[in-house]
């Protein structure tokens, strides 16, 4: 009953009678893009608001009278206007702010956009396109690899862009692009992410304890937003690297804007040349396309249509009879309508469709092998923002998603696994952003999920509290309950052709409780410091069961997974960041512990998963000197856990021959460690003009001092006598050059 009291409480929050309201949208005058988190307030009062994701703001409960309205946003001229409001007036005031950004300061401006969210919500990180492009990278700028440089986020290897956030694997992180879930965010087996840096506007990451507006995953949420497109002038940007070319075009269109971006590898001729001289070189390409159209339908209505299409294709033909093909890709389209119902009620409604297909086929000596996984979902989503009064900002919404899954495994013309499900998930949530005191804000939320396969309703309370101790110094705490209904089956060493399987009635969905407490301190405009401690308790975990008999007619989730797992992740993260000046960057350190336990794994004993890291230190810095920019990353982390061999034993291969075969007996799971991981990346970039165009060339060096970090250990027996334990190493030094351009 207590659970429902929260909803009841939300419905009872009063609105102010006999008071005026002012609301509207805040935009960038140069591009027309909506500005998020602009500070709107009335001078001489405690009344104010922040613009939301769509640039909308509303101030309610204003006594009649004359006021000076101020709209400020870092990097823009402050807007001031004198207003006269009647006692029950509703005034619409849209504000277009004039940018004052100097070249090179974009990072500062953008980094500050989410200042209020950062101060209010523990575990929240915002990374902007400008910051992203400054970081040294391998090959080309990559969102997910850049995120791996933040505290609490790790990579499994040099070739993986998978995110391991606060002890959770990639399967526990939800990745959204313009609010559409993407099921496989990787190209090139995880080497690159699918996010074209030219198309990205910004990204928000909730490392844990995420608010009620999100749901469906046990760990983190990465919410990436693509650019809307410039409403005022035609332009674009792009880049050429050693492996791919990318470009983005944006400009005004009718009563709004458009943006189209594309990226494609051009490795085929190189691979074909190598293949003509060396056997077993595959053919490979990937491409992705992003498109967005933004239209103002009326004074209060806006329509956004967006889409993403991407594909990876690897083909290896070693002989007439042997071929191997892996193909995967996401397609997603969405239409979003935003509407201002009243000066205090803002809504957005979305319909989206997403399709993920992964197909691995092989033919060896006439024997065909096929793995095929597809997920299609159609979703309807709605969110309402209601500014009730000066203390309460309510948010509520729903999401209904209908899925169609198929996971087929066929061997030698025999369908060995045929798992098809059509589940649906309906979620509703309500959230109150309550300014309890001038120095204390509380975000209280509740999310309820109905999953058709289980026919139960899972309630998920969410809470975050932020208390200002002094100017710039805040204490934060948060927590919540989370469920996950879809399970990713992947290899952690690389991530191509991942498979998603829904949990049916035979397996309980994973669940987690998150607890976060921390403090943030902004001692000066250029500096941010934060310290956060987290604890996550996980239950009903599953891992794929690799010991199933081949050819089983598995049609239920319990046939595919080892179930009943539990675990925890805990740690402390320290983060120091400098966001302005010639030298920018951060130092992040994480001290963490992660453990898992399954009744059928490791003889039921607790063990650290591979991505358990005791220490993880990252220093990332950029130094700007005129047209030159120098960047560097230094990373140091505890070595990954691995399972060592503890003994050898012999058994006969078969009774017929009596030949004895050697086996290694493993010790307890992950009881040894690889050597500590460390590397340094360097980059140099120079801006210049050519043919009246802004250009930038760059040289990036991944693993600058060529330290071959350890990846995994493999044991081999030579001549049936001597055992060798070979450490397979990760990437050596990798220099890359490229060119970026604007037009």
């Amino acid at each position: 009953m207590k659970r429902y009291a929260v909803l009841f409480y939300l419905l009872l929050i009063p609105t102010s009678a006999h008071a005026a309201t002012i609301s509207g949208f805040v935009t960038d005058r140069s591009s027309g893009e909506y500005l998020l988190a602009a500070n709107v307030f009335l001078i001489g009062t405690s009344l104010g608001a922040l613009s939301n994701d769509n640039g909308f703001y509303a101030i309610t409960g204003i006594p009649g009278g004359s006021y000076e309205l101020v709209v400020s946003f870092i990097g823009y001229e402050t807007y001031r206007d004198t207003l006269s409001l009647g006692p029950e007036a509703f005034l619409r005031r849209d504000v277009a702010l004039v940018p004052t950004v100097l070249i090179g300061d974009e990072a500062v401006v953008e980094a500050e956009r989410y200042r209020d969210e950062r101060l209010a919500q523990p575990g929240f990180v915002a990374l902007q396109a400008a910051v992203l492009k400054e970081l040294p990278a391998i090959g080309e700028t990559d969102l997910l690899r850049s995120l791996q440089l933040l505290p609490g986020i790790q990579a499994s290897s040099d070739i993986s862009s998978g995110l391991y956030i606060r002890g959770g694997g990639p399967d526990q992180t939800q990745i959204l692009l313009d609010q559409i879930p993407l099921y496989n965010p990787s190209h090139a087996f995880g080497f690159f992410s699918i996010f074209n840096p030219e198309a990205i506007k910004d990204m928000r990451l909730h490392k844990s304890a995420y608010p009620a507006s999100y749901g469906g995953n046990l760990g983190a949420v990465l919410d990436v937003t693509n650019r809307d497109g410039n409403r005022n002038k035609l332009g674009g940007s792009g880049g050429i690297s050693l492996i791919s070319m990318r470009t983005m075009v944006e400009g005004p269109l009718a009563s709004g804007s458009f943006m189209v971006s594309g990226r494609r590898t051009y490795l085929e001729p190189v691979l074909a040349y190598i293949r003509s001289r060396v056997e077993d070189i595959p053919g490979y390409y990937f491409y992705d396309v992003n498109a967005k159209i933004n239209q103002n339908l009326s004074y209060s209505d806006n329509l956004v249509l967006s889409g993403y299409f991407g594909r990876d294709d690897l083909n290896l033909e070693t002989s007439e009879d042997d071929l191997f093909n892996v193909r995967w890709g996401n397609s997603a389209v969405t239409g979003k309508w935003t509407h201002l119902f009243t000066p205090t009620i803002f809504g957005n409604f979305m319909v989206s469709g997403s399709d993920y297909t992964s197909r691995l086929s092989a033919n060896f000596d006439g024997t065909e092998i096929l793995f095929r996984n597809s997920i299609r979902d159609i979703s309807f989503k709605g969110d309402l923002d209601y500014v009730a009064d000066g203390e309460h900002a309510l948010k509520g919404g729903f999401r209904a998603s209908a899925y169609r899954f198929s996971f087929i495994r066929s061997f030698n013309q025999d369908d060995q696994l045929d798992l098809r499900l059509k589940p649906y998930v309906i979620s509703v949530y309500a959230q109150d952003q309550w300014q309890a005191r001038a120095s204390t804000s509380v975000r209280l939320g509740l999310r309820a999920n109905y999953y058709s396969e289980r026919e139960t309703i899972d309630l998920e309370p969410r809470l975050s509290i932020s208390h200002r101790l002094s100017e710039g110094l805040r204490l934060k705490a948060g927590g919540g309950r989370y469920h996950q209904y879809l399970q990713l089956i992947t290899t952690e060493g690389f991530s191509g052709g991942d498979f998603w399987v829904p949990l049916d009635e035979s397996v309980s969905p994973g669940q987690a409780w998150h607890y976060v407490i921390g403090a943030s301190w902004d001692p000066a405009p250029s500096y941010r410091l934060s310290l956060e401690s987290y604890y996550q308790r996980l239950g009903n975990l599953v891992v794929v069961d690799n010991t199933r008999a081949v050819g089983g007619d598995e049609t239920r989730s319990e046939d595919v997974f080892i179930t009943g797992g539990k675990g925890y992740a805990t740690g402390v993260e320290a983060f120091v960041e400098r966001v302005s000046g010639r030298l920018t960057g951060w130092i992040g350190y994480t001290l963490g512990w992660t453990r898992r336990q399954f009744p059928e794994v490791n003889q039921g004993k607790w063990y650290p998963p591979k991505y358990d890291r005791r220490h993880d230190l990252v220093v990332s810095a950029n130094y700007r000197a005129g047209r030159w920019t120098f960047g560097g990353n230094v990373i140091y982390a505890t070595g990954q856990a691995f399972t060592p061999a503890s003994a050898r034993y012999e058994l006969r291969e078969s009774a017929r021959t009596g030949i004895r075969e050697d086996y290694f007996l493993p010790a307890d799971r992950n009881t040894s460690r690889l050597l500590p991981y460390h590397r340094m990346d360097l980059s140099v970039k120079q801006d210049f003009r050519l043919f009246d165009r802004d250009l930038q060339w760059y040289l990036q060096v991944f693993n600058a001092y060529n330290h071959r970090n350890e990846w995994f250990v493999q044991y081999e027996t030579e001549d049936d006598e001597v055992t060798t334990a070979e450490v397979v190493k990760m990437l050596p030094i990798v220099p890359t050059i490229g060119l970026n351009y604007n037009f």
Binding site: N412, G472, T490, T547, A549, V550, E650, S654, F712, T717
Partner: protein, 293 residues
């Protein structure tokens, strides 16, 4: 919004330089891996049992050895346990095995009976001051009823092979699919081993085949000439060992794991030791593979 106090302007570059230098100079940069650290705590002297009972065959030879350290060299007979007390028990009958004296080989007593189907057998091994115990329940007899050659992709039967004689069973390489049909037994899985001339035995992973049908993959055929296909119906112990030892390949890239992270202790179903004490029933057929023209 902010206090006006600022940190000293030199603090960031100095702090960064110190950290960069410190991390880059960390001893780990030049550390060489001591090979011994790649092995876990040694599990030596654990008794290893190698005993598989085949239905309708006489009690088999049993091998008793012990584990050695993972990095130790194999030296022939060094791991053999030749002085064990090995007993197979069925009902009230106890069959005491005799040591051959080398390679850990133990033979059943003279006149030992054939292994019965659907029967519980127990193993007791006393050696090295330890006692190992295991139990197996033998499967019912396996009888191959039919061998059909199917056309791809229609999967229509285009001809049938003789289960009892290889002489007339001649199949061109990769022409159709060979399907083995039998009455399914109450077992967890089956294993197929293709015996080829001049090559080692290669066993399949455990195959479920609840409908009593198994398709033979052509990649199991490496050469032309006479082949024998043996189908085993596996008891629980043999099934558990085979499925878990194959999944735990120490170098495997299994799904749901990092490279090498499927290295997991197999399921032995033995008390006091490791290895296999299992049983199986089997049937076989032969055929000739005609080379591609």
């Amino acid at each position: 919004m902010y206090k006006t106090a600022r940190l000293p302007h030199w603090i960031t570059p100095v702090l960064t330089a110190v950290l960069l230098a410190g991390v880059a100079a960390h001893p780990g940069c030049s550390a060489e891996r001591d090979p011994a650290t790649l092995f876990g705590p040694a599990e030596r002297e654990t008794i290893v049992v190698d005993a598989v009972l085949y239905v309708d065959h006489v009690l088999p030879e049993i091998i008793i050895t012990r584990t050695r350290t993972a990095d130790a060299e194999a030296t022939g007979d060094a791991t053999s346990v030749n002085d064990a007390e090995v007993t197979v028990i069925q009902g009230l009958a106890e069959y005491t095995y005799a040591s051959v004296g080398h390679l850990g080989r133990y033979l059943p007593p003279a006149g030992a009976p054939r292994v019965r189907p659907n029967t519980e057998y127990r193993l007791r091994v006393r050696a090295l001051g330890e006692e190992v115990r295991g139990v197996t329940n033998t499967p019912a007899p396996l009888v191959i009823d039919e061998i059909a050659v199917l056309e791809e992709p229609s999967m229509e039967v285009i001809r049938r092979l003789d289960p009892d004689s290889a002489a007339g069973n001649r199949i061109p390489y990769q022409e159709g699919l060979i399907e083995v049909r039998f009455d399914p037994l109450d077992v967890e899985a089956y294993q197929v081993i293709v015996l080829e001339p001049d090559s080692e035995d290669g066993g399949s992973p455990p195959l479920e085949a609840r409908d009593g049908r198994l398709l033979l993959p052509w990649f199991a055929i490496g050469s032309s000439g006479e082949h024998e296909v043996v189908v085993y119906a596996l008891d629980r112990n043999l099934f558990d060992f085979l499925r878990s030892v194959q999944a735990s390949g120490q170098n495997a890239f299994g799904f749901g794991s990092l490279a090498g992270d499927t290295f997991e202790r197999p399921v032995f179903n033995l008390d006091g030791g490791i290895g296999v004490f299992g049983s199986a029933s089997l049937d076989s057929f032969g055929f000739f593979v005609i080379p591609e023209s």
